[in-house]
Subunit: 213 residues, 2 copies
Amino acid sequence: MTLKTLAIMGCLEDYHYITGSSVGKKLGVSQQVSSRWLRELEEMELITVVTGIRKRGIIISSKGEDALRKEYMDYKNIFSKENRSIILEGGVTSGFGEGGYYIYIPEYKEQIETMLGYTPFRGTLNIRINNHYTEHYHRLLSMDGKKLSGFHKNGRTYGDVKIFEATVNEDVCAVLIPERTHHDRILEVIAPFEIRKKYNLIDGMNVKIKVFI
Amino acid sequence: MTLKTLAIMGCLEDYHYITGSSVGKKLGVSQQVSSRWLRELEEMELITVVTGIRKRGIIISSKGEDALRKEYMDYKNIFSKENRSIILEGGVTSGFGEGGYYIYIPEYKEQIETMLGYTPFRGTLNIRINNHYTEHYHRLLSMDGKKLSGFHKNGRTYGDVKIFEATVNEDVCAVLIPERTHHDRILEVIAPFEIRKKYNLIDGMNVKIKVFI
DNA sequence: ATTACTATATTTCGAGTAT
DNA sequence: TATACTCGAAATATAGTAA
């Protein structure tokens, strides 16, 4: 609520000099409370504060913008239910994304096989989402999908992972999204075949994925 | 928050039979609390509840839908206002940045004139982006803009250059960003007039640029 | 199985006030 | 003038449990 108010006041675009009591007035709380809320937003790294002599310059960080955008996407999804799929486009990229190892871990792999009804090829295709599809990507992040349940093993925690059925060039595949992703705009795609080989993909080539939601 | 969750669960379209604990689980609170919240929503006439034997059928009222839509519009305004420009601030600096020579090269100059509709002053203003605006700078780097096409000449390769329309103190100008920049945080600004002279700028003085994306 | 009351625990608020 | 601390008051959450 506070963050949204700051955004409406223009803190997404640029630094704004804002006092605790002015935000408090807008939010209907006291100066003490709104000052504390601002401090908490700063501790959560949702805003960046530049301390001046008498005023504080406040700007919403990219993490804060993500949080707002997530909220925005929730509402957008609510009011546009008709779209059953989200299309994403991006360039093939090498190396593991944050979660490229899922299909190597038996506990995940079994769940994947049960959900999708096939054994995925042992390797994921990583796609760096194009700028034009950023909004689609964020919309996808905000969707509820089927979920691979997390677990503990060898003292490590493996979190929940969302899984969406999808297609590449009409071929069935699936997209994996860790619940607590860093939003690094890398999409992990798995399929019952080796996508890279079937379409002779090399790094940088563009691929379109249609994700069913 | 509760109302939004109900909407996501589908209560906008039709009655859904929902228990306090299922909503509580989604919201991360106890059954007692979410049951109370549902009651409060009903008292506020934001939802309509049909009491059954074991479950309650819940649908969001038109008053509730209005409330959600108002929230949606807040976010929509935030992002449709914000997404059109990026503000950058930095100190005027002398010497050529990596690409300060563009407007001296006829092949680029012609394209610039066609795209902007004016003849730029023969000289660029270089701005060293302040630390506080690093994030904005990187955001700009990642944007797709209009593009000056690269070419070959005298055995040399001249790369693509992105160009963005912008303003300095409400005066029209433009920002040039080579596709393969070293990201040295120097912004190259051109305008139909001599910016330095018009604003009596000397090295180190701060300038704010509003870039349209 | 679900709702909701009661008692208790926890969190949050804001006036007063120092910095 | 603005921020932020202290502390009693008020609001809110949860466990246990009755309906």
